[in-house]
C-alpha cells in the first residue's frame, strides 16, 4: 500500500497545497467503499462521486488542486475501467466536471479548459478588471443526478451520507473554475457589471443516458406516490458525446448624459421612418448616438430625452437633457474623448444639432431624467400672426396675464393615438415682442406647465383649446414657427 500522505506527483508543492490535498485525500477515503465502486462501474466521474457520496456538504476549492486521475487513485483501485486510457464521459455531469467539452464545431477541445475560456473571453474585446461568472447547464444533468440518487437509495437505503444535501453540478463547476479563471484573466470576481456566461448544451438529440421522456417522468412520479421506489427499466446508458461549451461576455449598459440643441426645423428627435421612408433629414438620436457608439465599441444604443419637441420646432437656450444608453460596451471612453465627440458634433458642417456637457453618468442617470419631466416649466418663443394689427393694449393685456389656466382637448393632430381627454394646463407668463415694420406679426414669449400644446394654444385647434391666443385678442391667430428656449431643471 502506498503512503498516501505523500504529496501528489508532479513537482514541489508548498505547505498549503499539501494540506489541501491531504484534506481531499481524507475525504475521498472516508467514502462508503462499495457505493464508490458501484458508481465507478456505472460510469460516474470522480468529482461527481465525491459530490454525491460525501457526508459533509462542502465541496470547496481544495478539490481544484487535485487532478482526476489522482482522485481516482484515492477512491480505490480494483476496477477494470481504471486501466482504460481515456476515461468515459460521466453519466451524471456529462463531462462538465471532468472539463471534457467540445467547441462550437463539435470538435473535442484538447487544450486546458481555463486557457481556452480565457482566449474566448479575450477575443470579445472587453476591457474589465472584475467579472461575474454565470453557468448554464442542460436540464438532463439534474435528471441524471436524480436517477443515480434513486438507484443509490434503492441499494443503500438509510445511510447517513444519502440524507445530506448535495452540492449541485453548477455550484461545483463554479468552485472549480473561479480561482484559476481569476488568475488567468487577471481580474477579481466580486459584483461587477461585466458578466461571463458559460453555456453548456447537448450535442445531439439522442437521449443522453438517463434522461426521461415526459411519459416516463409521469410514471415515475405516480410510482413514487404509490410508494414503490423501483428504478426505471432502462439501464444506465453510456454517454457518447460531451457537451458543447460556448462562452459569451456581456457588459451591463453604460450611460452618457448631457444637453442637446436642435437648430434645424427638419430634424426629428428620434429615428422616424414611415413606409421605408425617413421623415426629416436626420435625427438627434442618430447624430449623438452614432458618434458615441463607435467610441464605446458597443453593440447598440438607446436614446432617452427629458421630453420632446416636434420635428419643425427648434430646441435652443439651455438645451434639453438626454441620456444615451450603450449596450455591451467593450470600453469606456475617457472624458477627453467625450469632449472631442462633443466638439465634432458642434463643429460639423451642417450644424443641425449641438451638444453640451457630455459626460459619463453613473446610477444617478434616471434621477437626472426625472428632473426634466412633468412638474417642470418650459419656455418658448412663438412667431404669431393675427388677422388684425397689434395694438399697445394687446401687449399690456397679454403681459398682465399670470398663471392663466387653459383647457385643452386632445389636439386633433394626436387624437388618433391618444385618449380623448380635457387637460387643464397653466400658462405661467407671457410677453409680446413686437416686430419692426409689421403689425400683424409678433414674437410671443411664454412660460408654460409641462405638457402644454403650444401650437394649439395659439390657433385654438378649432375652438378645442380655450382660451387661445385668438380668443384673448378677439381675432384669428396662427402660429408660424416655434422654438423651445428653456427646459428648466430643478432650481436652475
Amino acid at each position: 500500500m502506498s503512503d498516501e500522505s505523500k504529496p501528489a506527483p508532479g513537482g514541489l508543492l508548498n505547505g498549503l497545497e499539501t494540506q489541501k490535498t491531504r484534506r481531499v485525500n481524507e475525504a475521498a477515503r472516508s467514502l462508503h467503499p462499495s457505493a464508490v465502486k458501484d458508481l465507478l462501474s456505472l460510469g460516474v466521474c470522480e468529482r461527481c462521486i465525491l459530490r454525491l457520496v460525501t457526508v459533509t456538504a462542502t465541496f470547496d476549492s481544495d478539490l481544484a488542486t487535485v487532478s482526476s486521475s489522482t482522485l481516482r487513485g484515492w477512491l480505490g483501485s480494483g476496477v477494470e475501467e481504471a486501466a482504460s486510457p481515456e476515461p468515459s464521459i460521466c453519466i451524471v455531469c456529462l463531462g462538465v466536471l471532468q472539463f471534457v467539452f467540445s467547441d462550437a464545431k463539435q470538435t473535442l477541445v484538447k487544450s486546458d479548459h481555463v486557457a481556452w475560456i480565457t482566449d474566448l473571453v479575450k477575443q470579445q474585446g472587453h476591457e474589465f478588471d472584475s467579472f461575474v461568472l454565470e453557468v448554464s447547464l442542460p436540464s438532463t444533468i439534474s435528471e441524471n443526478e436524480r436517477a443515480v440518487l434513486l438507484y443509490l437509495k434503492g441499494k443503500y437505503s438509510d445511510e447517513a451520507w444519502l440524507q445530506s444535501e448535495k452540492v449541485s453540478v453548477k455550484d461545483a463547476l463554479k468552485v472549480l473554475v473561479l480561482d484559476p479563471l481569476r488568475a488567468s484573466l487577471g481580474a477579481k470576481s466580486d459584483s461587477s457589471s461585466f458578466h461571463i456566461r458559460l453555456t453548456y448544451s447537448q450535442a445531439s438529440d439522442e437521449a443522453q443516458g438517463l434522461s426521461e421522456t415526459k411519459h416516463e417522468r409521469k410514471k415515475r412520479k405516480t410510482d413514487e406516490e404509490n410508494g414503490s421506489n423501483c428504478m426505471s427499466e432502462n439501464p444506465f446508458k453510456k454517454v457518447s458525446e460531451p457537451c458543447i461549451l460556448s462562452v459569451h461576455c456581456n457588459k451591463m449598459p453604460i450611460f452618457f448624459g448631457g444637453r442637446y440643441f436642435k437648430y434645424s426645423r427638419n430634424v426629428s428627435q428620434s429615428r422616424w421612418i414611415i413606409d421605408d421612408e425617413r421623415m426629416g433629414e436626420a435625427s438627434v438620436e442618430e447624430i449623438i448616438g452614432g458618434s458615441i457608439l463607435p467610441a464605446c465599441l458597443g453593440d447598440s444604443y438607446k436614446f432617452h430625452a427629458a421630453g420632446r419637441e416636434d420635428i419643425d420646432v427648434r430646441m435652443l437656450g439651455s438645451g434639453r437633457p438626454f441620456l444615451i444608453e450603450v449596450q455591451n460596451s467593450r470600453k469606456c471612453p475617457s472624458q477627453q474623448s467625450l469632449t472631442e465627440i462633443e466638439e465634432k458634433i458642434n463643429n460639423s458642417e451642417k450644424k443641425l444639432v449641438g451638444v453640451k456637457d457630455l459626460k459619463f453618468i453613473g446610477s444617478e442617470c434616471w434621477a437626472m431624467m426625472r428632473e426634466g419631466e412633468a412638474e417642470k416649466q418650459k419656455q418658448y418663443a412663438a412667431l404669431v400672426w393675427i388677422s388684425r394689427p397689434l395694438e399697445e393694449e394687446d401687449c399690456n393685456s397679454v403681459s398682465s396675464m399670470k398663471e392663466l389656466k387653459i383647457l385643452q382637448k386632445t389636439p386633433i393632430r394626436v387624437l388618433h393615438r391618444r385618449s380623448q381627454l380635457e387637460r387643464e394646463r397653466t400658462i405661467h407668463w407671457m410677453k409680446v415682442e413686437k416686430i419692426k415694420g409689421n403689425a400683424h406679426y409678433f414674437l410671443l414669449h411664454l412660460c408654460t406647465q409641462a405638457g402644454t400644446y403650444i401650437k394649439e394654444f395659439v390657433h385654438g385647434d378649432l375652438g378645442r383649446t380655450t382660451p387661445s391666443m385668438g380668443s384673448i385678442l378677439g381675432c384669428r391667430a396662427e402660429i408660424i414657427q416655434l422654438d423651445v428656449t428653456d427646459v428648466k431643471m430643478g432650481d436652475s
Binding site: V432, N438, R476
Partner: protein, 210 residues
Amino acid sequence: MAENPETDDTIETTKQNQSEEEVEHSDEQKQEDELRSLLLSDIGDLPLSPPSATQVNFVSYFITDFTKPGHDQYIYRHANGLCVIGLAPTHIAFKDEGGITNIDFNVGKSDRSVLKVSGKRKKNAMRSESNTALCKVSTAKDSYIVRCCVKGSLLEVNERLIKQPQLLNSSADREGYIAIIMPTRPADWTKNKESLITLEEYKAKKEVSL
C-alpha cells in the same frame, strides 16, 4: 416700430448689475444675445396672410347635394386620417333669413352629444356609415339633417354649438365644425373618397370664390 419697452428695461437693468458680478452676467448676457439673434434671424418672409393651420395640416374635400339638394358639407382630412365634418359655405341653411338658430344632436337612435369615447382604442365610439344622421340644424324657416359622409367611428361632436349655434353662421369652417370621425379602415376611406370632390372642383361647381 419701437422695440418692446419691457424688453429694453430688462436689458438695462442687467447692464447695471454688471459692475458687481461682471463675469457671470456677461456670460448670461452673451447667451441671451445669442438666443435672440437665433430667434430673430429665422424670421424670413412674412406674407400678409399666411395659410391657416387648417389649410396646412388638412386636405379639404367637399360633398354637394348629399341626399338632398343644397346639402353641401366639407370633410377636412388630417394626415393622421381623422376627418373633421362641417357645413360648407353653400349649404342652403345659410340662405335662410337669420341663419342657423339651433342645433340638435338627438337624432336617429341616440343623442350624439352624450356619447363618451374612452382610451386610445376609442372604445364606445358610435359606428357611422356615410349617411348616418349626425345632427339637425334649424333656422327660422326650416330644419336640415346633417349626415356623417364618412364611414368610421364618431370620436366627438362639437358640443359648444349647443350653447352657441351662431358659431355655425360666423365660422362654420373653424370653430363651427360639427364632428370628428375616424375612418376605421384605410379601405373604407378610399371607397368614401370616390364620392367626394376637391376644393378646386367645389369652387368650379358652385362658382363661389372662397
